[in-house]
Symmetry: C6
Subunit: 82 residues, 6 copies
């Protein structure tokens, strides 16, 4: 497998959200490695509201992980305790 994930650390909450999207897509890629098949499926689920809500759900779960890994992008603790 190629290297696609170096760290869960991101600079901003939005970049973290985009990393959560990458994680969600990778969960699909590992299960269906063929890009050709994935592309063929796309028009279907991208127009099905329940599929879109389900996709957003997976992103939300992965975002919990990324946000926790970044300590919710809070200011550095040692600094805030000064």
């Amino acid at each position: 497998m190629e290297k696609w994930l170096k760290s869960l650390k991101t600079k901003t909450p939005q970049e973290g959200f985009e990393l959560a999207i990458t994680l969600s897509q990778q969960g699909i890629k590992y299960t269906q490695p063929s890009e050709a098949i994935r592309k063929k499926l796309r028009p279907k689920y991208a127009k099905d509201p329940d599929s879109l809500i389900a996709a957003s759900h997976v992103i939300a779960v992965n975002y919990q992980t990324v946000a926790a890994a970044n300590n919710y992008w809070r200011e550095n603790l040692s600094y805030s305790l000064k």
Copy 2:
């Protein structure tokens, strides 16, 4: 991608809930970027109780993240330890 998320910090629990809604919508926008298509889908899922429950579920997951990021809007820890 435009900048749509600066911080997970909100002033109140209700603003946090509204941010959780934004996160849930963004999860859908990244998957289906066309506003025209999303608008067309809306009448369908907004009248389907299972879609509405599923949407509320995604919001609940994102609210967990936002609430944790805000330390559940508890009073400041350094203050409460005095």
Copy 3:
């Protein structure tokens, strides 16, 4: 938007559960703001066991948030450390 959520703090675990229900309902209200439509949908999902289980699932997720916010209604930490 009207103000409907002041705090995640509740006096008892049961009030916390009822707040989790409110959060779950609000997730639906923000997605379908029309009370008339929501009322029309109610007879359908309230008699569908899978919808009821799904609704209970959303409440459970929101209850995790409310319970954590209230530190699970444990006795005050500073007291228990005495």
Copy 4:
């Protein structure tokens, strides 16, 4: 509403699991308060494997809350720090 939940505290992990079941049932009761209707629905979902898996899922989510509230029934912290 009658009082049905006094505390998330339980003596054993199994009692905690049974409390998680109660929480899951209450999530359904608040959504469908009629006992007559709930009884009528029971034969359907109790023979549908997907409904049973979904019910077990809700119990699992509530068990996370109950288990955290009981600090996973670990030995008392103040004792283990001696």
Copy 5:
């Protein structure tokens, strides 16, 4: 109810996973206590990929609980701080 759960503590991460499976099965048993009916349902869901994914999902949620209870089978903290 018979006693089926003494502790969330397990010796290894794999035993913890197997306990998570037990918890998931118990969630089903409490909802459908008849072993005869559960056995009849088994051939159906065990050949339905979506049921299998849903079952794996419940196990994953219960595994979060068991893993947290065992502090993820990390070495003992007091030892690692020496």
Copy 6:
């Protein structure tokens, strides 16, 4: 049962993700032990977008566990406190 899981510890976040996939697959294997049947089901769910999203969801839940177990692959705490 053969031994398939020694530790939740992984060297990198990507290896952790791959362990989350293993956990998700094991959740299915324990429920449907026959490899012949699992292989027969594969073509179906691997071409169904909703099954793929559901599979990615399970991986996301297991990844939360693995990531927490690895303290999100943050630098060692005792080091960062120096």
